[in-house]
Amino acid sequence: MNARNGGTSLNRRLAIAVTALTVFLGALVPTRSLATSNTTAHTYGYVYLGTNSTVGAYNASTYLNSMGWQASYYNGSYVSSIFETAKTDGLVMIDYHGGPGRMVDSLGNYLCAQGCSGSSYNLSAYGTELNDVDFFFFDGCQTAATHSTYGNLVDMAISKGAWSAMGFTSDIDGTSSTCNNQCLVYGNWWDDRFFYNSQFYVVSTAAIQTASDYYAKYGRYGGFNNYSIKGSQVSLKRISQ
């Protein structure tokens, strides 16, 4: 009898512990299907320094619209404009050349995490203006890597209120600026597949699937297996399909 009571008590304690652990782990890795009302999205591509990212960024906006966003695509926008527009965005995708802590526009001006001067812009200058950004995607080389002066774009976006941010810790493949009618290859192909896959999965699952798809397509990862997502797990779907 005592043993049975002891067993019941133990079971109850075990159940409480498991529940507490589940709640704790759930809090550690929150998953959210975008609850904010901000459906404004901007995607940016350009033809610059050997790369044509226009098709990838354009296709991203098409998929986003089908997922319930009011997405607009811009070709060759300057960082000054991107910096201002991001304050009222729910989603930002910048498909430009990048490096640790910064991305560059076609004027040679930077969007940096911090430490840039002159005509460049620092995410660190934001107060809490990125609070409405559900997903900030820095789609360039090493945009999730840290620079001793310019900091880390992904981390800074999160610290300024973005719910989730993504970049890459290594270099990634672009698409040739002379791609002509073959622009849906390499980097643009990855962009297209990532946003296609995002219709069905949360972003981290879309990212691992797309890296795998890239290998099946090209026989190499092209750096796309080195994605880094900080903040919270999100789904980009805003409407059921």
Binding site: I172, Q209, G219, K230
Partner: protein, 263 residues
Amino acid sequence: MRKKVFGFAALATAMVIAIAGLSSNVTLAGSTKQAEARAGAAAIAGERVDKLKDLEPVEFPRGVEYRFKGQNATYGMDERSNEVTSILWHNERGTNFVISSDEALKQAYKTARRYFRQFDVKNFELIMAEQVDHGITAEYHFLWREMRDGVLYPSYVTVSINPETGAPMLFSAQNFDVADSVRPKLTREQAIAKAKSLASSDTTKVKAADFDVWILNAQPAPRWHVELASDDGLKVEMFDVNDQTGELFPGGHYVQKSLPPGL
């Protein structure tokens, strides 16, 4: 005159019927294959066929892969062989490396053998084994490629393992038979010379020049992948050189999305 008009109308009608018939046969063939693939995926998933959601088929160089989303995973089925070529488990995510890399490798072997019949038939070499922290997720990642006489062939299998539980997160494989052994026609130096002849003046350092056999339009495509970098390593240009012709594959000159030197 009336007879001629009637004759023309009859011919046109017959052509429309023939084209429509041909078209429906093509559609039927496609849907039949997709239905077979769906049945195959359902058997692997242990789910009812009608519970699988059709995703858009993916066109890979080897051919079409049909995709079906089930309750717990998404399955990719090869159009040619109707074998499973990819499985993406939906809810397998871990952030901490709890299990050892040896245990993860053991689980990866188990997954590869379970889903890829060719794994113990051909000679697969483990060419990538890494543990990657993606921020909100992490993985142990393993990649095997078929290797013969030091040359990589198109068949491969890759498995990602949840670092907390040891469960598979992703499996992807392809079996592509290349009957004859392939020896490169171009030397490494010739492939590099081709790349350099097309490169910008500031990318002269050879970062990589590797030969393998990949696939183009469902045919074996021996290729050289050459990467040329600027002196400071910031700018990298890439070239996929067709080993058979010495020319670039379509779209085979591209750059990484990195900051160029001087910026």
